[in-house]
């Protein structure tokens, strides 16, 4: 049904918007600088 296509388009739009507002940079920062407590060591 058409709702799948709508959901996919909405999902892509959300991702682009999220990247635009800097969310992806936060993910990258957290992924390459290990905060030991955050992953359960310590």
């Amino acid at each position: 049904m058409k709702k799948r296509v709508a959901l996919i388009l909405l999902a892509v739009f959300m991702m682009v918007f999220g990247i635009y507002r800097g969310e992806m940079a936060v993910v990258f920062n957290k992924a390459v600088n290990i905060c030991l407590e955050c992953i359960g060591i310590g």
């Binding site: 049904m1 991702m15 993910v27 992924a31 310590g42």
Partner: protein, 298 residues
């Protein structure tokens, strides 16, 4: 390339169930192709970590090439600049709408890990259906609420699921990092001990019960399960062909009743019910727009 020829050969001679294992194996390798990390004890810091892999794979694993969607979600919700993540929820919605819990069955290394443990011969136990709802609770509290509300002096929230629970993180990141980096060995504390305990519980549990983490805890599975009803790749049941032999019910290790609800939230799309159905009443299909394209399992 030699590798491709080998893959095609192995592919053509394997049964369906093994085909799934092969994809799971390839997935584990692809998510973690920074093999160098396992020798140096250092994580990959390249640009690919801007993106998430669809399955549960800790981004602090020395081999990890991409980010974990659940880790990423907590890091954005925990950040004082955001109360919601469009990037990650959008990504999860995209993958969910296309694949639903196919990710669980094909694209998750920790799922593969549990399945391999289940192969160890022992008495097997089932988990009561009502308990599968705890994973939504874990999602709501540890992945969403705690990072949002349990914040420090400047509003940075705790990534509570990664920090206190995730056994995938312990086995992929915690243990390799501690083993490979002497300086870390001096500073492990009670938190590491607790997470080790959780990991051991799930290792033992996975021998006696099928994929206990996926059933009870996994917040990622909880999210994808919401899409099983609408995903593009899904299962179909033809009532007219069903002879009520219940072979599908006996086979299903996720305790789904395929002839009642073939796109149940617990179905991880392992395909065994389809294999075992004598009348082909169960099939895998692809549905995008208005038209239906049938693809039968061979």
């Amino acid at each position: 390339m030699y590798l491709i020829k080998l893959l095609i050969y192995v592919w053509s001679v394997s049964e369906l169930a093994n085909k799934r294992k092969i994809i799971q194996g390839i997935t584990t390798f692809v998510y973690n192709f920074n093999l160098k990390g396992f020798f140096t004890g250092e994580i990959y810091t390249g640009k690919l970590k801007n993106a998430c892999v669809p399955g549960l794979n800790c981004y602090s694993c020395p081999g990890a090439a991409g980010s974990c969607p659940i880790g990423a979600l907590q890091s954005i919700l925990g950040n004082y600049k955001y109360q919601f993540s469009f990037y990650i929820f959008g990504f999860l919605m995209l993958i969910g709408t296309i694949l639903g819990r196919f990710v669980c069955g094909y694209l998750c290394p920790f799922g593969l890990f549990q399945e391999l443990l289940y192969k160890i011969k022992s008495k097997k136990f089932k988990i009561k259906r009502v308990f599968v709802y705890t994973k939504y609770f874990i999602l709501a509290i540890f992945v969403i609420a705690l990072p949002l509300f349990h914040t420090n002096v400047i509003g940075l929230g705790d990534p509570a699921f990664c920090k206190y629970i995730c056994p995938a993180g312990t086995i992929e990141a915690g243990i390799p990092l501690v083993l490979l980096n002497k300086p870390l060995q001096g500073i492990v504390g009670w938190l590491f001990g607790w997470k080790l305990f959780i990991l051991i519980v799930f290792i033992i549990g996975s021998v006696f019960s099928f994929r206990p983490f996926c059933k009870l805890i996994c917040p990622l599975g909880a999210i994808y399960s919401l899409f099983n009803k609408v995903s593009v790749f899904r299962y179909a049941f033809d009532e007219a062909k069903c002879i009520n032999c219940n072979k599908c019910v006996e086979t299903c290790k996720m305790d789904v009743i395929p002839h009642l609800n073939v796109n149940d939230i617990e179905c991880i799309r392992c395909g065994e019910c389809i294999e075992v159905c004598p009348t082909n009443a169960l099939t895998q299909i692809v549905v995008l727009g208005d038209g239906k394209k049938n693809e039968e399992i061979n």
